[in-house]
């Protein structure tokens, strides 16, 4: 489904080049749940943004279902089936939750339909459907709405940047259920033990490089210092 080949990302700081990502290569197969983990500043969010097209790699290739998408725009990737849930969800003055659900699903949803997406991420849907997607919503509410938009978009490859940040335990259970039950491919940036434990594959990033890749069992020792048990620990 997704393949990264030798992806590098450099930025210039004080006239000096700094490598944020160094020679990243890995594959994500259909219907897998792949967790991207690693210490703060290891390049996880940058990598997820490069896959979505929000950032452009300095070199390397990204293939999606065999097609080279390295130079495609965010929109083009979205149309091919990629979705993205931001670590810090964006707010809009005047756009309602329902408007965003309609945009994501490319249709005018009935209230019942729209509510279904919200219920699946643990929100009492009717309270939210007509609300503006603005800063009056809490961080946790915004994070869950962000996931509801991914469901509404119904993409094949869903990239989620720390979806658990700011959400409560009950919602986290709903999140785990979602990743388990949705018949989709997920690439999730996370530090959370329960997510890592159910992952098909874990990729451990360290200082912009892949330090290890494999199942949770394979990487158990290496991961021990990275994993969080409590929800709030995962927040960067």
């Amino acid at each position: 489904m997704l393949e990264l080949q030798n992806v590098c990302y450099e930025i210039v700081v004080n006239n000096k080049k700094k490598k944020i990502l160094d020679d990243i290569s890995f594959k994500v197969d259909d219907k897998q749940l792949v967790v991207l983990t690693g210490p703060n500043g290891s390049g996880k969010s940058t990598l997820s943004k490069i896959i979505m097209g929000i950032l452009v790699p300095s070199s390397g290739k990204i293939l999606y279902n065999g097609k080279d998408i390295t130079r495609l725009s965010i929109t083009e990737r979205a149309k091919l089936g990629l979705s993205f849930a931001f670590q810090q969800p964006v707010t809009f003055k005047g756009l309602k939750v329902k408007d965003l659900i309609d945009i994501a699903s490319k249709k005018k949803n009935s209230v019942i339909n729209a509510c279904d997406y919200l219920s699946r991420v643990g929100l009492c849907a009717r309270e939210y459907i007509d609300r503006d997607l603005d800063s009056k919503l809490s961080g946790g509410e915004l994070k869950r709405i962000e996931l509801a938009l991914i469901l509404a978009k119904n993409g094949e490859l869903n990239i989620c940047d720390e979806p658990e940040a700011g959400i409560d335990l009950w919602s986290f259970d709903a999140l785990i259920k979602l990743f388990k039950e949705e018949d989709k491919t997920f690439l999730v940036v996370s530090h959370q033990r329960r997510l890592i434990e159910i992952a098909s594959k874990v990729i451990l990033l360290s200082r912009g490089k892949i330090e290890a890749e494999g199942s949770y069992e394979d990487l158990k020792e290496k991961l021990s210092s990275q994993i969080c048990d409590r929800l709030e620990e995962g927040n960067e």
Binding site: I74, T75, F86, V90, K93, G94, I103, A104, L149
Partner: protein, 306 residues
């Protein structure tokens, strides 16, 4: 009424044709074309100047009155005085609007001076739309003035919009609020090309527990220029909140001067103003949902001005 005039009528008043019943007053190129009155709502032409007096009787509820103005000839400069006398215990919707469609180089315009005399315990929703249509060369000028005298425990919700096509406009709203009165103003403005708009709100919170909320949202595109000025004066225990949000694109300019004056120790007045271009993050978010950049910007602006 020709097709263009019907289109303007629909734009400004949501009426598809001249209504057969209900309270209304339709003015086309300076002349009255249709008027309807009801038991609760009477409309009379002014004798000393252009304009109408709308009388809404005590206890009139769930009724509406539409008073659209259409200017479809170049060079028409219309000025009217419309007075609304709303008695006590009323609950009505008033829809006013002005559409100017003109081509060619001579300026056309309409100055509507609306005065609301609202009694006690009444609720009025006032929807006002200003629309300019026609080619880019023509000048369309609208200078609306709204004067509001809001009685005890009455509520006026004013939704006013001017979404493009008006080349020059000075919009003035003056209000005085009695005890327990509440004024809610929601303004949406969109300018482009070389349009110039100035919008002013002067609100006197005279009565105890009076309350005003002004939310102005504006988008300035092209080389257009907007100026927002508000002056809220709290003379009693009262609450006032002014919010001015602007989006600028290309070489658009927005200036915001929210002034609040507390003349009473229990006056609570707040103003907020934010002006900037559309956030990159907002555009990126909508692009991840499949919109291209232009579609994303359009959705953001439509929502913002709604």
């Amino acid at each position: 009424m020709n097709e263009i005039e019907k289109k303007i009528l629909e734009e400004v008043s949501s009426l598809h044709a001249v209504p057969m019943s209900g309270a209304h007053n339709i003015r086309l190129n300076g002349k009255l074309v249709s008027r309807g009155v009801t038991e609760g709502i009477n409309i009379l032409s002014k004798k000393d100047k252009d304009g109408i007096d709308v009388f809404i009787k005590r206890g009139t509820k769930n009724e509406s009155v539409h008073i659209p103005v259409i200017v479809s000839f170049s060079g028409v400069k219309d000025k009217v005085y419309n007075d609304f006398y709303v008695e006590d215990d009323v609950d009505v919707l008033i829809v006013a609007g002005c559409g100017v469609n003109c081509n060619g180089s001579s300026a056309s315009g309409h100055n509507g001076i609306h005065t609301f005399h609202i009694g006690k315990n009444s609720k009025v929703r006032y929807v006002e739309k200003h629309v300019g249509l026609g080619d880019n060369e023509a000048k369309r000028e609208l200078d609306p003035v709204t004067d509001i005298i809001l009685g005890e425990n009455s509520v006026l919700i004013m939704e006013t919009s001017q979404l493009g096509g008006v080349t020059k406009s000075i919009r003035t709203t003056n209000a005085t609020l009695a005890r327990g009165a509440k004024l809610i103003i929601k303004e949406s403005l969109l300018t482009s090309e070389q349009d110039i708009v100035k919008t002013m709100f002067n609100v006197n919170l005279e009565g105890e527990n009076s309350k005003v909320e002004v939310v102005s949202r504006s988008v300035a595109r092209g080389k257009s220029c907007q100026e927002f000025v508000s002056n809220i004066i709290g003379k009693n225990k009262c609450f006032g909140h002014v919010e001015c949000d602007g989006i600028i694109s290309e070489k658009g300019i927005i200036s915001s001067t929210p002034k609040i004056v507390a003349k009473h120790p229990d006056a609570m007045l707040v103003h907020e103003a934010a002006i900037g271009k559309i956030g990159e993050g907002q555009i990126e978010k909508l692009m991840t949902l499949g919109l291209d950049k232009e579609e994303a910007e359009r959705e953001i602006i439509i929502g913002f001005l709604r």
